[in-house]
């Protein structure tokens, strides 16, 4: 599993015009609904909000990784949004959030789900990578940056 396999250019929005945490989540879920056939918006929203209620996925450093498991999707999908103005997200470090990855997977795929989740959080723990994501201007650049970082950090592993 590589992040570049589950994230596509049409699920990236670099100018999210949103004011609240819920709007962030809704607009990223919309990206999934628009690009994945036969899915169910309400089911995805419900799963993501349920997870968010347990504990905020705002992991600090202006990053949030909302995620949920629902059989409304058949395989793992990701969407990425960058907020034009940082949004209050109830994050671990109490700082507003601007880089948001949404991850949605089917209920029976807990393994790949947590792997994708940890990979996203691992990459976003690198300050240089966060700066890069904050400065790119096209979705293609986002994918290229992720591909390069994934290669760099994970392909050395035995």
């Amino acid at each position: 599993m590589r992040l570049t396999d589950i994230l596509t250019v049409d699920r990236i929005n670099l100018d999210l015009d949103v004011q609240t945490k819920d709007e962030v989540i809704e607009s990223l879920v919309d990206l999934v609904v628009e690009t994945v056939k036969g899915t169910n918006r309400d089911a995805i929203l419900k799963a993501v909000r349920a997870r968010e209620q347990l504990m905020s996925t705002g992991v600090g450093n202006s990053v949030a990784i909302p995620h949920g498991k629902t059989n409304a999707v058949k395989s793992l999908v990701a969407a990425f949004g960058r907020c034009s103005v940082p949004v209050e997200y109830n994050a671990l470090d109490d700082q507003p959030v601007s880089l948001v990855f949404l991850l949605v997977g089917p209920e029976d795929a807990a393994g790949p789900h947590i792997k994708a989740l940890s990979r996203i959080s691992r990459l976003l723990s690198y300050g240089e990578f966060r700066s890069l994501l904050s400065s790119v201007t096209t979705p293609e650049e986002v994918l290229a940056a992720i591909a390069a970082e994934e290669k760099h950090h994970f392909e050395l592993k035995t």
Binding site: R51, V59, A110, H113, I114, R119, F154, L156
Partner: protein, 445 residues
Amino acid sequence: MRAIIAGSGDIAYQFAGELAERRDTVVIAENPGEVSRFDKLDVQMIIGSSADAEVLRGLDICEQDDFIACSDSDERNIIACLSAKQVCGVHTICFVTKEEYYRSFSPDAGREPTSFIDRIIWPQKMLAEEIARIVLVPGAIDVEILEGGRIWLQEYRIQPGSPLLGKTLQQLDLHPGLLAVARARDQEFSVPRGNTMFEPGDKVTFMGTRRALRSLERHFFRRSVADKVTNVTIIGGGNVGGIIAQILEEEAEKIHIKIIEQDLERCETLAANLKSALVLHGDGSDLELLDVEQIYLSSVLVAVTSHDEKDLLCSLLGLEMEIPKVITRATNPANVHLFESLGISVALNPALTAIKTVVAFLQETSAKLLAVTEQGKGNVIEIEVSADFTTTQISDLPEMEDAIVAAIVRKGKTFVPRGQDTIEPNDRLLIFATQDATETVEQYF
């Protein structure tokens, strides 16, 4: 100079195996059913109670002997040491598994050494301390702090693609403040030379100043590990897990610690005794829990439940989550190698660590043992150079097979020597040597 082992369980058996080759070894077995496996070892077996003064007198134990009480029962070990000490002033080493005994009989507690126990060994604590040290240095798989922090020992595993590959040690031109002192490859363990080349999977030990080692970290080990240790997850909140959390709380306030423990009562005790660590009640292999508690953010995962299978499962999940460092306890020593071959960064067996430390300690003569690495394959010893030693350049020393002078302490100054430096009378030397070379090295100085 005999070794008298009181006990016949797993630890006693491993001790006997280690010691039988080197010295006359006597095993006092209380349980006749456990005697047969000792048959293939060259040891004298006595069946009887190790706390029975008659049995001990019958053995003619004397002051030069070492008495190692390592049965499965703490109480029996303590009483055996008491009896042995009363029969004669034999040197006693006592194994315990309960904290209260360790506290009560430990000479470290600031009191006079307990008169009948010369050395008390609590393997779980040794293991916890070792794990805590390894947690604190990113990337390293073993860490020892020597000379009050002026010299550090750090061991790393060489990853594929590492800039340390493809060149000889000499060509690598490492920082002058450090030396590569050991290389472990499968079962082979040796001191590298100038023409040594590393391969992926090798475990390499370096000794040097903290500054030099930091520079090494930056240049050669950075990309394979997270930059900083910020979140540590400990799965299993027993003795070992609890002590690790305590040490980490003291040594590094900024680290977020999470302990996952299945037993609710134990959770409450932990929560009461720990300051900042978050104690979670649950199953460490439950993916939902790992998700909700955001364990995937961890820089280190330590699996120390009391079951190897569970530890292995949790560790594999940790690897799946690409946590940079996964440390696992292997209660069965046979699993250490297996676990590491599966990609777990470090697998440690508490008994093995304790046994090797004691064996190395028993061997020492004029040299002082400072540290033991790779579960006993390598030793750091300290040697005082005699006053009538002729000043000699290091490169002119007779070739020391499998040993290397890693640091010199002269007039209160500590430095890492190069070939052109000299060894002078009254120097204190920190020498890294393989287990086999340790004894011969002492004869040089």
